[in-house]
């Protein structure tokens, strides 16, 4: 497998992120507190209480992760080369799928995306990928649309 070995970078980054989220939660709690004081006279707790508690906890944990927590001994293997390209392609196809569905509809989009996924992630030759894509699209359509009667998007182009 193509992989790089790297020290876990995440502890301090996530810590900083938690501090940021903690501040966001406290600010939201403050906004809700003001709202409670205005809307519900005499209430000692409300929608602001839990955000405040969670915000304070996030702030404390974030600070701890940034300042004091030691990174785990285990190293993280990051993907590289062909594996990374394959994974990025898979992720891009999924995002494209999400963009396509409202336009082309569920069935047409699934047919295209499934072929691309079998080709890109599975590494199958085009004819095999097309065959697998057609079978998967058919099975999913039969299961969700015909059997479970799920309304699936038809798209602007009616696919």
């Amino acid at each position: 497998m193509n992989a790089n070995r790297a020290r876990p970078i995440d502890g301090k980054i996530v810590g900083a992120l938690l501090v940021l989220l903690g501040i966001v939660a406290l600010r939201e709690g403050r906004r809700l507190y003001v709202l409670r004081e205005t809307l519900v006279a005499g209430a000692v707790v409300g929608d602001d209480t839990f955000p405040m508690i969670v915000g304070a906890a996030l702030l404390a944990l974030g600070a701890y992760l940034v300042v004091a927590a030691a990174p785990p001994a285990a190293r993280v293997e990051l993907p590289s080369g062909a594996t990374r390209a394959q994974m990025l392609a898979g992720a891009a196809v999924l995002v494209a799928y999400w963009v396509m569905v409202p336009w082309l509809g569920y069935t047409s989009s699934t047919a295209i995306v499934s072929v691309l996924l079998y080709r890109g992630m599975g590494g199958y030759r085009w004819p095999v990928a097309v065959l697998l894509g057609a079978v998967t699209t058919g099975v999913l359509y039969l299961f969700f649309r015909v059997w479970l009667l799920q309304p699936l998007p038809t798209g602007i182009l009616g696919g």
């Binding site: 839990f50 394959q86 599975g122």
Partner: protein, 503 residues
């Protein structure tokens, strides 16, 4: 009505053709996903969760429970035949199961695993039948402060789900709580954390979150690990009398350890399987056989695994506390249908609960039938290439996330959490505490606010009421027990796999 009367009515409902079909389909699908290399019960239940959303509450929960049981059974197949544990709970099974497969005794190992799992699973459900109602009888003593105490007790589960670092587990739990806050506030109905973005008004739905975190991320991890398939032939799965005789004490001990420790909220199968395996090794006359294909080394952890899984239903149904990630998803499933697991569940939804309990007996029997004669088919399925499996799971996840509320926003949520889940799992940030906190967050908040409203804002209410105080003290005690068990299991995991794994 007494317990047996309730159980009989439960069986009458569970054995209706529709519910029986759901138990069968759930067991089949759960085993199917469980036997796929690298996919464990959490991934199985996450991938298949959206399929149940179109069903009614009873058939849906029967199906989800059966998927959970099926995946537990299925997990042993890849552990024994391919030396690939889907989850930590299958790691000890690899130690002797795989050597048995290499010696041409893979079929016997699978047979013993199925029999041990059936015995332990059924034992667990029998105790659940008689024990859970006793706990639930305390329902009337539970007010908001007591429920808050229960939620604090549930929070100790975060410790056992934290994996390599408690700080990381707590951080993920806080993120889960934060996620649960998105949407309309329960006191004033005011929007929180939506920042004017309308789709967030109804909050982040559980199913897209689970699909993203546990199904989509699993595909990317599998792609990276370049999971391969290995040809294996199985001839006979029925153990000889001598094998059964040798395994039975191990199955009994594994069941005992798995079940009684499984009653502790937060004691997941990942912990008890190692304890059961080590106990067998210590008691053996020839401990040197372990690691080289000792049948007891398969029987004990498999029995412990299923006994703990069954025992987990007691705190889940009677107290609303899930012991593991798949049970947390199951708890979420119950809540999706408006059912609140906990002491009142047995009173408010008795028919539902007893149908589920009866269906657990049925599911165990179906799984034994599916696993022994059909083992050849499961073995064949382990050869499905990941190149087919990965895209199929992604496509299923996409439509599954959409079908819950017919919303492309939910699909976007599942994709975002899929990518995020991959990065977090890769960097060893445990996802289970996040899920648990997300599910329990609204309950914790609701009971906290109600309690503080009752006391005029004084937190002393939690220690002034006996039951609430007892629950908080139990939480503190369990915290220390969990920490000790985690330390033991982490050490054993490092010795066994030479790497850190999330429990």
């Amino acid at each position: 009505m007494d317990v047996l009367g309730h159980l009989a009515s439960g069986f009458a409902a569970a054995l209706t053709p529709g519910n029986l079909l759901m138990a069968f389909v759930g067991s089949l699908l759960g085993t199917l996903v469980g036997v796929l290399p690298g996919l464990g019960p959490t991934a199985a239940i996450a991938i298949l969760f959206p399929l149940t959303s179109v069903l009614g509450p009873v058939p849906a929960i029967i199906m989800l429970s059966s998927i959970y049981y099926g995946a537990m059974y299925g997990g042993s197949t890849t552990a024994i035949l391919l030396n690939i544990p889907g989850e930590v709970a299958s790691v000890p099974t690899c130690l002797d199961g795989y050597p048995m497969a290499q010696q041409g005794r893979g079929g016997v190992a699978l047979g013993i695993a199925a029999i041990g799992s059936f015995f332990a699973g059924t034992f667990g459900v029998v105790i659940l039948t008689f024990f859970a109602p006793l706990l639930a009888d305390q329902a009337l003593r539970f007010g908001p402060p007591e429920y808050f105490g229960l939620m604090v007790l549930a929070f100790t589960v975060v410790v056992s789900l934290s994996g390599i670092s408690l700080a990381r587990g707590l951080a993920m739990a806080m993120l889960g709580y934060l996620l649960s806050l998105i949407g309309l506030g329960m006191a004033t109905g005011e929007a929180r954390f939506t920042f004017g973005f309308e789709p967030l008004m109804s909050g982040v739905d559980l199913i897209p979150l689970v699909v993203g975190l546990f199904a989509i991320s699993e595909v990317f991890l599998g792609l990276e690990e370049a999971r391969v398939t290995i040809a294996t032939r199985i001839t006979n799965v029925f153990p000889r009398w001598a094998d059964l005789k040798q395994s039975m004490p191990a199955i009994l001990r594994g069941t005992g350890i798995g079940f009684f420790l499984g009653l502790l909220p937060g004691c997941a199968p990942g912990v008890t399987v190692f304890l059961a395996y080590d106990a067998e090794k210590k008691l053996a006359r020839e401990p040197e056989r372990f690691g080289k294909g000792a049948i007891e080394g398969v029987a004990a952890p498999e029995a412990a695994n299923n006994a703990t899984s069954s025992a987990g239903f007691i705190p889940l149904l009677a107290l609303g506390i899930p012991a593991s990630a798949p049970l947390a998803i199951l708890l979420g499933g119950l809540m999706v249908y408006g059912l609140q697991p906990g002491p009142l569940l047995f009173q408010k939804n008795a028919e539902f609960v007893w149908t589920i309990i009866a269906s657990l007996y049925v599911g165990n029997a179906i799984l034994l039938i599916l696993n022994l004669p059909l083992v050849g088919m499961w073995v064949w399925l382990t050869r499905v290439p990941f190149g087919i499996l990965g895209p199929a799971i992604l496509l299923l996840s996409f439509v599954g996330a959409y079908s819950v509320r017919n919303s492309m926003f939910d699909v976007a949520v599942s994709l975002v959490f899929g990518f995020l889940g991959y990065v977090l799992r890769k960097c060893r940030w445990p996802l289970a505490p996040m899920l648990l906190a997300y599910i329990l967050g609204p309950l914790l908040e609701n009971n906290l606010i109600q309690s503080l409203s009752m006391s005029g804002g004084s937190p002393l209410i939690f220690v002034q009421r006996g039951l609430s105080l007892a629950l908080i003290v139990a939480a503190v005690l369990l915290l220390f027990i969990s920490l000790a068990l985690i330390r033991y299991t982490s050490r054993r995991l490092r010795e066994t796999t030479a790497e850190e794994m999330a429990l």
